[in-house]
Amino acid sequence: MLKFLGRRLLIALPTMLVIATLAFGLLHATPGGPFDTAKRMPPEIQRSIEAKYHLDEPLWRQYLRYLNDLAHGDLGPSFQYRNTSVNELVRAGLPVDAVVGSLALLTAMLVGGFTGTVAALRRNSLWDHVPMFFAVLGISIPVFVTGPLLILVFAVQLHWLPSGDWRGIDIRYLLLPVAALALPYTAYIARMVRGAAIEVFTSPFIRTARAKGLPTRTVVLRHALRPVLMPLVSFLGPAFASVLTGSIIIESVFGLPGIGRYFLTGAINRDYTLVVGITVLYGALIIAFNLLADLCYAWLDPRVRLQS
């Protein structure tokens, strides 16, 4: 186990390096620079700004400088928000996404898992068809529709909930964004769980267990859970990473100061450090969650030999 972990962590470093390099290269290859405004500046000033941000150095030197800073945990200064560092922006934005994202995925897992299991157990009944129909709806209606719709109904019409804003851990302000973010994941998980559960329940092994007279609950919890959880786990790994780095649409619809919005404006404004910084963060999270997912695989299905 430790050998496995060690190996994976060892691979993680070059992976991060590649991610950082790719992101860096891609950003710099994109046309337009961070200080391009419609009003052209005198070359002297342009030079001065570029010198300040080391944009006048040859690309390889900027790259090495960036890597050096990265190794020290410094993501660099933001190019679009002058006088602010990327670390600060991430520090400010990450908790927002973490709270909203984990609540959303937690909800999605609970609601989706429960709905999907029930649907599989009561196959072809109303418990199956109706939730599954809403699940398909949940996947097909985009977030930039459900978000404003929720605001329209609950905030504007009914005045039950505020229409957005970030006030920390306050359920009134969290309810709508979490609901909007959770919906597609819930739908996806419900369908996935239902499908996997059906496959498992109709397997000869399970039928044998049932024929033996084991109560349904035992069957579900002890034997069926693992094979159902496995595709779930492989989905959730990247899903966690992606909600943590912010759902751009949720953030802009509800006015949440998360990382996703910075990323979008950063790409548009060519804020190199910000975009590369968030990309690197994203990469680290993906690697971490994938590792977690693989560990869960191993735990769930002991037949999977951990590579050594």
């Binding site: 691979i11 992976t15 590649v18 991610i19 790719l22 992101a23 891609l26 950003l27 290859a29 994109t30 046309p31 129909f133 398909v136 709806l137 996947i139 097909s140 209606i141 985009p142 930039f144 529709v145 404003p148 719709l149 329209l152 996806y188 369908r191 996935m192 499908g195 996997a196 059906i198 496959e199 109709t202 397997s203 000869p204 092994f205 044998t208 496995m230 595709p231 492989s234 989905f235 790994g237 990247p238 990473a241 990323f263 979008l264 790409a267 548009i268 975009v275 968030i278 990309t279 994203y282 990469g283 993906i286 690697i287 994938n290 695989y297 299905d301 037949r303 999977v304 030999r305 590579q307």
Partner: protein, 280 residues
């Protein structure tokens, strides 16, 4: 040992016919198929038959609600919504299916190879997947647009390049767990299991995601250009009018939902048809 993993014989011709018959018995799948067929038919015929086209504005008929001369109403430029939605269906279906095929192909090949090979190859291949997950999307799209100019083909490439990752992960996961069971028909079981699993899990959901992806790309300047619009574009335009002219949103949303729902139920039917373990 798990009795579910009995060696499975190769698919005989008779088995395919049985699968087809099972599919036919799956009511929702049939309905879905019929619905899809209907939508495809509409999408093909309506633009040919209708007196309106998707681009010409009609200044006297702005924002007409459904009914009357325009069956589904008109948009902000007086263009007939039915024709535009039909064009949208065409584009969305085309892009959805083509891009999904591309990504399924790549994803299955990649994931199966990784899972089956195991060891360093698996590690390397999955690390590449990890890396690709994190490539910042918008700059990539902008670079692609600038480097290759405007190309519809590019939409497939861009979408396919991003969506195959999930499939690869899932396929590899399944491959990993199945591969370690020692029996002769492992490869066959793998193939079957992967196909059913992809059909069941991924394809119905993937198409929806892919179609929405395409709308986002259109917004950024990649993909179909105005005045053509995909369902995704129509929906995002309609969302701007959600309060004032909700039909501009609900109609394309209904069509999109219909298409995605149909693919889902069709996928269910295919699963039941292909995988005889699940008895009805």
């Amino acid at each position: 040992m798990n009795a579910a993993i009995l060696p499975r014989p190769a698919r005989a011709a008779g088995q395919w016919r049985q699968s087809w018959e099972r599919l036919c018995r799956h009511r929702p799948a049939l309905v879905a198929l019929a619905l899809l067929g209907f939508v495809v038919l509409l999408a093909l015929l309506v633009p040919l038959v209708s007196p309106y086209d998707y681009a010409t504005p009609d200044w006297d008929e702005l924002y007409q609600p459904p009914g009357g001369g325009h069956l589904l109403g008109t948009d902000g430029l007086g263009r007939d919504l039915l024709v535009r939605v039909m064009w949208g269906c065409r584009i969305s279906l085309l892009v959805g299916i083509a891009a999904s095929l591309v990504s399924v192909l790549i994803g299955v090949l990649w994931g199966a190879t990784a899972g089956y090979a195991g060891g360093t190859t698996d590690s390397l291949m999955m690390r590449i997947v990890d890396i690709l997950y994190t490539v910042p999307f918008i700059p990539l799209v902008i670079v692609l647009t600038v480097l290759f100019g405007r190309s519809f083909l590019l939409v497939f490439v861009a979408i396919g390049a991003v969506s195959w990752l999930d499939i690869a992960r899932i396929v590899r996961g399944q491959t990993l767990s199945l591969k370690n069971r020692e029996f002769i028909e492992a490869a066959r079981a793998l193939g079957l299991s992967n196909t059913t699993m992809i059909v069941r899990h991924v394809v119905p959901n993937l198409l929806g995601v892919v179609i929405l992806f395409e709308a986002f790309l259109s917004f950024l300047g990649l993909g179909v250009h105005a005045p053509l619009a995909s369902l995704g574009t129509l929906i995002s335009d309609g969302a701007n009018h959600m309060k004032s002219h909700p039909y501009l949103l609900t109609i394309p949303a209904v069509f999109l939902t219909l298409i995605v729902c149909s693919f889902s139920y069709l996928g269910d039917g295919l699963r039941d048809a292909l995988d005889p373990r699940e008895q009805r």
